[in-house]
Each structure stands twice: as C-alpha cells, then as structure tokens.
C-alpha cells in the first residue's frame, strides 16, 4: 500500500473522468453519452376485502410489537426444474439467516405461514387486475397459471411468492412517446421487515398475502424524467379504476437501470415517484464508473488469476483507537487484513456521490456475511481510521507493495470464511463489469447492494393451484366496465383549460371522475372546479389531514349551492370549514360564515355608501387601492350571491365616473 496516496483527489479525478454531473445539470446528451436505459416494475395493492389466497382481511396493519405468536424458518435453495441452483439462492443460503415471523391472529392464518395450502384465488382481485390489464392494452391470457417465484430472503414464509400473468405486451402513452409493457401479473404481497441484524431477520405477516399487481415495462426510458413520467402514468392508470389502495406502501416501484455496456440493476421498493430521477441518474453513472474501473483493473498483470491474500491480525500488536475495532477485540472477534494485489486506486474509485468502490464491498459484507456496519476499513478511506504506524505494520505483515490495497475486516470467526469469499468475489466481478444486483434506495438518491439479481429460472408451476380459464365473454363484460383512458382524461382537462399543475394531484387522488361528474351534472365551469380541487382542496388537505373528509362531499356541496341558487364561488370560503367539520350541514357552514342571501341589486346599491366611508390615505392615493378596499368590504356579502367580477366592474365604473 501507499501511505501517501491522496484518495480524496483520486475519487474526484475518477468522478470527473466518468463525466459525472448532478441531475440538474444533466441533459439528454449526458444520458446519450453513457447510454442511459431504464424500465419499471410498478407494484400496486388492490382494494379487496380479503387477501389473495386466504380469507384473512386485507389492509389491516399491526405494530411490530403486537403479535400472538412467532414462527422460525430457514430458507434452503431448491433444485430447479433445470437442475441448477439459482445464483441468488446460493447467496441467500450462504447468509444462513434465521427468519422469525410474527403473527397476529386477526391478520394472518395458517396459510400465511405455509401450514395450509392456498384457497382459490380471490375473484375480486382477479377482476380488478384484468380491468387494469385491459386499460394497459395488454393481451389477456386464456388461462391464468399460478406460478411460484422463489424468494429466499424470507420475505415470504413459503420461500416463494404465488404470482400469475394476466396479460403480456401492452403499452402506455407518454407526452412524446409510447412505452411498451412486457407484462402485468397478480401476486401476493410480502412480509414487512422489522429488523435484520446479524443472522436474525424479523418479519411481520400482516401485509403478507395481500393482492398486488405488478406492471412491467420494457427499458424504453432514455432519461430519468421519462422514467418518472412513465411511473406516474402507470400509477394514475391504476388509480383511475378507483379499485386500488392508496397511502403509504400501497404503490411501490422497482426501477431497472443500465448504461451502455452495463447490466440490468434493479432498484427495489421506491415508494415515491419523485425519487426516481435522482436514483436512476446516480445508478447509470455508478455503472458507467464501474466500467471505467474495469478498464483500469484489466491492466493488472495476470488479472485472470487474481486472488486475495488474507492475514489474521493480532490486535495486541497494534494501537487501535478506532472504536469498532476496539469493540471487536473486546468481543474476541477475528480481525483480518486482506491484501488486494495491484488494486491501488480501486477502493477510492468513484461510484456514487460520496461513495466509492470500497462501499460495494462493505455493502456485500453486511448482506452476505452478516457483518454489521461499519464492517471494514481500508487503505483508501478519506479519513484514515488507523494510525500511520499501524498501517505500516499491516503493510509489513501482508507484504504489501506500493500498488496493493488493503482491507481490514472484523467479526465473528464463523462468518470470516464467507466474508473473505465475498470480498474476493466482488473484486473479481470488477474485472468482468457490473454484477446483476437488486439495490435498495436511500433518501439521498444513492443505493446499496441488496441481493444478487435472480434469474428467470426461479419460476415453478404451483402444484397447489389449478389453472383458471378466462373466457372471452368474461373479458368482454369487464372491458365494458373499465374507465376512460388516462391519456384521454389528460386531454379533456387540457381542453377544459384546467391548469397543468393540478394534474398530478387530480390523477394521484383519482379526482377526475368527480370533476367530470360535477361538470356534466351541475354544469359548473370546469376550470373553476379543476382549480378548486387541484389548488384549494390540495392546499387545505395538505394542512389538515382529516381522513373523515370525503372528496365526494364536494359534489354535494356544488349541488346544494346550485339548488339554492347560491353562487358557486362561496365554496372557496366554505371548504376550510367543511374539511375541519365534515359532518356539518351546508346551511350551518353558511351561517358560520354569516352568509345572508341578498339579491345583486341590493348589494350593488350599497356601493356608493361604502365608497363614501373610504378614507383616503396620503400614502395610498392610487385608485387601485380604493378599489381593493371597497372589494374587501363588499366581498363577504357578495360572495355566494353574485359573481365578484361583476361587482368589481361596477366599482371600477363608479370610481372612474367621479
């Protein structure tokens, strides 16, 4: 190793050579240069009473400490149909995790913990998924085959998820292009993780088994904004049926990203579409940087036979002041120095903002070898955790040359073999390119290793379920019930002159049908209704999250105003009251606002009197101020009784006549 190596400078240099710019400064040219490619897997919970394969209630959640029983399982890789172990399977087996499931009687039965075979699929869920598949222009299958998709992380107690394809090959329209869809499947949701420490992972089983659909797109998106747009469209489409769940965790997406020469990497469980641009931007550059690192590493002599060398460290011989190392020593854990021949510069090579190749190794040590972080230090940290003397000693016992890099790891003895294998495996992958992985997203837009990307060979027919035929007549019946397409709704809003900044809110809350109903039935100005919901309602509900307030009330409100011949603009004043007290009668709300029914003549006749009371102020001589003051006085009585624009017109005329 080279004590004098400036790793920070090297990090910056490699960041620069990758051409990394922040999201805001990037444009299509940036993405074309690195060959940005991305697609989506959008998950959406369906609004059903029961779970997909048993009769437990759907949508009831328990706190982590609320449980009646615990069950322990270990997951073993199985022999696949083609006789090979799946790559992920082997990794998960290496981690030797003890999985604990917490069960609450009201939310889980013996099906969830795999002690009872599945009941027939929930018909409600099946119908909703077909409706959404039809809206997504997918080719609907003739027969639904329940398939087992293996998950060895324990997130499902059976070790597999029951899932089935509803349709293949569809498309969704974006503003400027069409995104093709690969498929839509219906599946059971997984457990929620409570904790994952060392060799124990704890899950709760309340969400497990809830019906979910997954819409998968082709990697047709060529920049981060497009990925978000596609994701929003799919989510709006799902919500347009009004038959899906909303709220935290009800919609989640996995984003697949690659760069030119890269590998498909799946960023899992992104809960907000607004995070997508940053995540995909950084991931594409991570891959691009790793490809540059590969170029460097392939210059190493005989890299095909490259191996790590490991040396057990006796902490007694060192002056460790780094807390985790002291703790490891106290716990009598093993400390090992690993020499990476000719790896100088690799560990501090840029991968993501404030992250380097060393993080790739550390992340895997946590997941595969179950070593909690911090789990390693290395010769190219930005801040060295060891004294120079200690590094020199380590360099000496590992017989390091200046071009070598060193990693020091610590942990329980029995985990060290896997840890060393993990380090060697990840380093060797760097000669090959980018490993296929699923990665977990962090709020800063970076990602960490989660699992090895599983292949298609983890799919098995479910021997517990019979195929379900979908007759033409059934599909035809459902296709008559599906709502208007989201793209048509977009166009309609535009045509109505409703401002675009309201669309996301309107579609994400599925308020389009409400607006359409108000406009069609009550003949109220669409632009007013659109902004009333997209601006006013959004604003008020943003401040006061009253779940008892149901948006459908807005229809009744306008109907009430129309029936009583009250001008609809009064709704603006009534809305905050209604949100605060959803059970209050409309009349009472009006009374609270001291609203009196007056006819236009009467209101206008008071204008000269009000005008007379205006006391001109030296500072405010301009007539605009006078008009505003008069309007302020008259607004309360006028609002609801007549159009304020008419009042203002009158005031203007009155003043200019003087």
């Amino acid at each position: 190793m080279d004590i004098s190596f400036d790793s920070r400078a090297h990090y910056e240099a490699t960041k620069k050579s990758a051409g990394y710019v922040c999201l805001k400064k990037a444009n299509q040219k940036t993405y074309d240069r690195i060959g940005f490619m991305s697609g989506l897997e959008v998950h959406q919970q369906l609004l059903t009473k029961e779970k997909l394969f048993c009769h437990c209630p759907a949508g009831i959640y328990n706190k982590s400490e609320e449980y009646d029983a615990e069950v322990i399982r270990h997951m073993r890789p199985t022999l696949s149909e083609l006789g090979e172990y799946d790559g992920t399977a082997l990794m998960e087996f290496k981690t030797r995790k003890e999985i604990i499931y917490r069960i609450k009687n009201e939310t889980a039965c013996t099906y969830e913990v795999d002690d009872t075979p599945p009941f027939p699929i929930d018909r409600e869920a099946l119908q909703i998924s077909i409706e959404i598949a039809l809206l997504s222009k997918l080719n609907i299958v003739g027969e639904v085959h329940i398939t087992r998709k293996q998950y060895l992380d324990g997130s499902i107690p059976t070790g597999f998820q029951r899932t089935a394809i509803i349709g293949v090959e569809g498309s969704i329209p974006l503003k400027n292009k069409t995104i093709r869809l690969i498929q839509l499947s219906i599946e059971e949701d997984s457990c929620r993780e409570i904790s994952d420490i060392g060799h124990t992972r704890i899950y709760k089983t309340d969400r497990l088994g809830m019906p979910l659909i997954e819409t998968v797109t082709y990697p047709d998106c060529v920049n981060p904004a497009e990925v978000k747009e596609a994701c929003d469209y799919i989510r709006f489409l799902n919500r347009s049926t009004g038959k899906v769940r909303t709220g935290i965790g009800a919609g989640r997406e996995d984003v697949n990203v690659s760069c030119k020469g890269g590998t498909r990497v799946e960023i899992k469980g992104v809960a907000h579409t607004k995070w997508i641009p940053q995540l995909t931007h950084i991931e594409a550059f991570r891959q691009w940087s790793l490809l540059l690192l590969r170029e460097q590493l392939r210059k190493i002599k005989n890299y095909e036979s490259w191996k790590i060398e490991s040396y057990i460290i006796d902490p007694e011989d060192y002056n460790f002041s780094y807390a985790p190392l002291i703790q490891a020593t106290e716990l009598q854990q093993q400390v090992i120095a690993v020499k990476l021949r000719d790896f100088k510069g690799a560990l501090s090579h840029f991968t993501q903002p404030e992250k380097s190749f060393a993080n790739e190794i550390s992340d895997r040590l946590k997941v595969i070898a179950c070593l909690e972080k911090p789990n390693m230090i290395h010769s190219e940290s930005f801040v060295s955790e060891l004294e120079a003397d200690d590094w020199k000693k380590i360099a000496k016992i590992t017989k390091s040359q200046p071009d070598d890099a060193i990693i020091v790891i610590w942990g329980p003895k029995e985990d060290m073999k896997t840890a060393l294998e993990t380090i060697e495996e990840r380093c060797k992958m760097a000669f090959e390119g980018i490993p296929g992985e699923t990665r977990k997203s962090l709020t800063d837009g970076t990602t960490i290793f989660e699992r090895v990307l599983p292949g298609a060979d983890r799919m098995y027919p479910d021997t517990d379920s019979a195929p379900i035929p979908l007759e033409d007549s059934f599909i035809d019946k459902l296709s008559k019930e599906i709502p208007k397409e989201v793209i048509d709704r977009f166009n309609q809003l535009r045509q109505w002159g409703i401002p675009e900044d309201t669309y996301t809110y309107i579609f994400s809350k599925n308020y389009y049908p409400l607006i359409e109903e108000i406009v069609n039935d009550l003949k109220i100005n669409p632009k007013f209704v659109g902004t009333f919901i997209g601006h006013r309602l959004k604003n008020i509900l943003g401040k006061n999250k009253n779940f008892k307030f149901k948006a459908k009330m807005i229809y009744h409100l306008f109907a009430f105003l129309k029936e009583n011949k009250v001008n609809e603009k009064i709704a603006i004043r009534m809305l905050p009251e209604l949100v605060a007290h959803p059970r209050m009668e409309f009349e009472s709300v009006l009374a609270t606002l001291k609203f009196k029914k007056l006819d236009a003549e009467e209101i206008l006749s008071k204008l000269p009197f009000i005008n007379g009371k205006f006391e001109a102020n030296k500072k405010k001589t301009d007539p605009g101020y006078r008009i505003n003051w008069i309007m302020g006085q008259v607004q309360k009585t006028a609002m609801g009784n007549m159009d304020l624009a008419v009042v203002e017109e009158k005031v203007r005329n009155m003043i200019s006549q003087k």
């Binding site: 449980y67 080719n139 003739g142 639904v144 060895l152 070790g159 394809i165 799919m459 021997t463 195929p467």
Partner: protein, 461 residues
C-alpha cells in the same frame, strides 16, 4: 419415433397443436384474437382440460392460451428441458455410523415435474448429497428403493417387504435404518413395523415431509437430517417416527410407532404422540430423551421378524343411529375381525346388539377403541358397555384405532384362536396399550387461557 411430442395434450388442444405442426418444448409464436404470445410450449397436466395450450413466456411465467382464440402457431425453435438432479459422490467418513435409507416412494428430496406438476424424488446417495450435503456430516449413507408407491397405497404387502428388508439390513450389521415414507399412512406403517420387527437392536426411523423439498421452506431436509441422526446416533432401538416438533425449523420429535398419529392435514408439526409423551426431542446438535425408559441399542443382531398380516380385518367408525345391517354385511363378506371405534368411553347403540351377537356367534373377533383418541376404553361404567363385553367385544385400553386395526390384522395373520387372539391383542408389544397415562400425555391447550396465550407468544410454534 416413440418420443411423445404432445405430453399431456388431448382432444381439441392436441388437434390444434397438430394442425399447426407445433410440439411440446417448441419455441413458438402464437397469434390469437387476444394478441400475440411468444414462448416455449410446455407439457400439459393430464388432469387439466383440452381447451388450452400452456406456454412458458420469456420472463419465466407460465400462461395458458385458449385454443378458440388461436389464429396461428409458428414454431421458431426447439429446446427440450433436461431434468437432472446434481449428483455428487456421497463421501465416506470413517468413524461415522452406517445408515441405510429404504425408499417406499415417499418424497424426501425431490424436484418438480412440469408435466404432471408432480414431484420426482431424489433418492440415490449422490442425489441426496446434492440436495442435502449436511447428511455427510451425520452418517455414511447407503440407499435402496424397495418400491415406489404413494403413502395411501402402502399396505400389507409393503409392510411385509419392509420388515424383511429391515431384518436383512440388521443381519448385515447396519447401525440404523431410515425409511422414507409419505406422511398420510406413516402411523400405520409405524405400528405394523413395531409388531413385525421385535427385539430390535438398532433404531428404525420413519420419516417424511409435509412440504415437498421443491419448496425453499420445506421441512424435508431438516427431517432427513434429524432422522439420519436418530438412526445413526441415538440409542433408542425402536420403531420411531421422526417429524417436526413445532412448525418452526427448530427441532424434531421422535414418536413411538404405536402411539403416533397425524393430527393436521397440512401443518409441518402434524405428528403427535397420543396418550403419552414423545420419546425424545432431536435437533441437529443433540438428542434429548423425554421418556426415561425405552429399548436400548444393542450390539447383537437378534431381531425377531414376524411378517404376518391378514387382510380380513375391518374397522367400524360408529355414528348415532347406525343400523345393524352394516355389521351383518361385514360378517357376510367374510371379515374375521372388527375394530369398533366407539363414542365416549367406548359405546355403540343397542340397535346393533343383535348383529354383534350374530358376529360373535360366527367367531368374529371384535375389539373396542375410541373416537376421542385420547383416553382409555371403560366399558364397566355403563350398562351398555357391560352388555357389549358380554356379547364378545373386548376393550383395548388406550390403543389407537388405526394401531388396533394393524395389530389385529397382524395377530390374525398368525392365529384364529379366540383366546390367543385376545391374549395377543391385550399384551402390548411396545406401549400400544400403556398401563397409565401421564398428566402431560394430553396436551390440547386451547385459547382463552391467558397463561397459554402468553406461552404461545413466547415459545416458537
């Protein structure tokens, strides 16, 4: 040309495939009125209808295509899947016990078959080692497939063949025997082998799995490890059933072949010892005896194999209002023995008495067991019980109904003498009737009791 290109397809679906010159394992583009589907045509399960073609699409999922919607099928390639279980040489480790695994057709290690959706067992030592490599740390393994029948088809012929095979293995010096078996009739085989293989010098362990090993959460691998350990390393020289204790992957229980019963249709921890405690707990680390007394492992080879079985024994599960013609027809059909499964302490209604008398007069051997499963037959308590005994029905204590049926079949395979039959039935071979029931032999702790609820919360199920 005897290759089956249309595995499982019949009727209209078969005709459609033939019409378009498509075959199973062919990669195909199928144009339908619902759009185009691309993938590999898969075999179809024989029990499914003839209106659909099954395809594996590139993402690995299977879908069915309705043949009524098919416009055309174009085969673009052909690639037959090759089922193979990775087989590795099972290592021989000096110092480890030698265990023989006898196969009956139950699935312990297995893989899935596309066509029937059925499970194909892995069985040779090499295949098992490929699937459960941990076995090599427990024992040296040899295997023999005696027959391949489903659990429900196990019967007298198989019991006798198994008993003889056990005798042969013991003679050859084996340290322990494991029998792979489907779980449905595990208890019947357990009882039969207890009666047929007496004075065992080594453990004989029956094992199965409630979740086939094609599932990552299968209980098969752990059960197999436990069974091999029990056979090779335990000093309990009895016929035992080795299955999960709790449903969690924690430990197994060793149950006596005569006291064990499958108590849940699908739970992993379905086997329970009835009316007593299990013999022992077993984990990968250790064997912890629960019962203090049991037959110990010996070095001699003096096993007694008694491979007898009569097929003239039946069982009568009583229900209120049962008519005597049921018993008459059993007797008319030549049955020589009837195991009654009576209500409560061992009762049937008076209406049956004449038929019981007729049966007794014809020399039919009749015994009483219980629907309650737990507890002893007590026919002295009420008049009806005393009446029945007078009419020739012998109470069998706390012998389980299935065990009683097996035992009577075994006894009638050896003698027809009424007194001898009665003597043999009432003389326990291995606790099929116990002299006393321990207080913890009946553990059905149902909800509502706060202590039980908190126990269930704390202890892994």
């Amino acid at each position: 040309m005897n290759e089956d290109f249309f595995q499982g397809y019949k009727g209209d679906a078969l005709a459609t495939l033939m019409k378009f010159n498509a075959r199973v394992w062919g990669q195909a583009d199928i144009e339908t009125t619902r759009g185009k589907f691309v993938g590999t045509i898969l075999p179809r399960s024989e029990n499914d209808d003839d209106q659909h073609i099954v395809m594996k699409i590139p993402t690995g999922y299977n879908v069915g295509i309705d043949i009524k919607t098919v416009n055309s099928i174009t085969e673009t390639g052909y690639k037959k899947a090759n089922y193979k279980i990775p087989e590795k040489q099972f290592p021989v480790t000096p110092g480890l016990p030698h265990v023989k695994l006898l196969g009956t057709g139950g699935t312990i290690a297995s893989r899935l078959d596309y066509r029937t959706g059925a499970v194909i067992p892995a069985f040779s030592p090499g295949e098992l080692y490929g699937a459960v490599p941990e076995l090599a740390d427990i024992c040296n393994l040899d295997t023999e497939k005696l027959f391949a029948v489903f659990s429900e088809n196990m019967g007298p012929k198989q019991y006798i063949a198994l008993a003889k095979a056990i005798g042969k293995e013991i003679e050859n010096g084996i340290d322990g025997i494991v029998i792979g078996h489907g779980t449905d009739t595990l208890q019947h085989t357990g009882a039969a082998l207890t009666f047929m293989c007496q004075n065992l010098p080594v453990p004989v362990v029956l094992v199965g799995s409630q979740r086939s090993s094609d599932r990552p959460s299968s209980d098969a691998a752990l059960n197999l490890m436990h069974a091999m350990k029990a056979a090779g390393q335990s000093d309990i020289a009895e016929v035992m059933v080795c299955m999960f204790g709790p449903t969690s992957d924690e430990y197994g229980l060793l149950h006596k072949g005569t006291r064990v019963r499958k108590m849940h249709s699908s739970y992993r921890s379905t086997f329970r010892t009835i009316g007593d405690t299990p013999l022992a707990m077993i984990s990968r680390k250790e064997i912890t005896p629960i019962k203090k007394t049991y037959n110990k492992r010996r070095n001699d080879r003096n096993v007694k194999i008694l491979p007898y079985f009569s097929d003239e024994v039946t069982m009568l599960y009583y229900y209120p209002g049962m008519k005597p013609d049921i018993i008459d027809s059993m007797v008319d059909n030549g049955y020589k023995g009837i195991i009654f499964v009576g209500t409560g302490l061992g009762h049937v209604n008076r209406e049956l008495y004449p038929a019981i008398e007729r049966a007794h007069a014809k020399g039919v051997h009749m015994f009483m067991t219980l629907q309650t499963i737990w507890g002893f037959v007590h026919m002295f308590v009420y008049d009806t019980g005393r009446d029945m005994m007078a009419k020739g029905i012998v109470p069998l204590g706390n012998m389980l109904p299935e065990v009683a049926w097996i035992k009577l079949s075994w006894v009638l395979g050896q003698t027809n003498d009424a007194e001898e039959v009665k003597r043999m039935m009432l003389t326990p071979v291995n606790d099929e009737i116990t002299p006393r029931e321990p207080y913890n032999g009946y553990l059905v702790l149902q909800g509502g009791v706060p202590e039980v609820e908190s126990f269930i919360r704390k202890v892994h199920k």
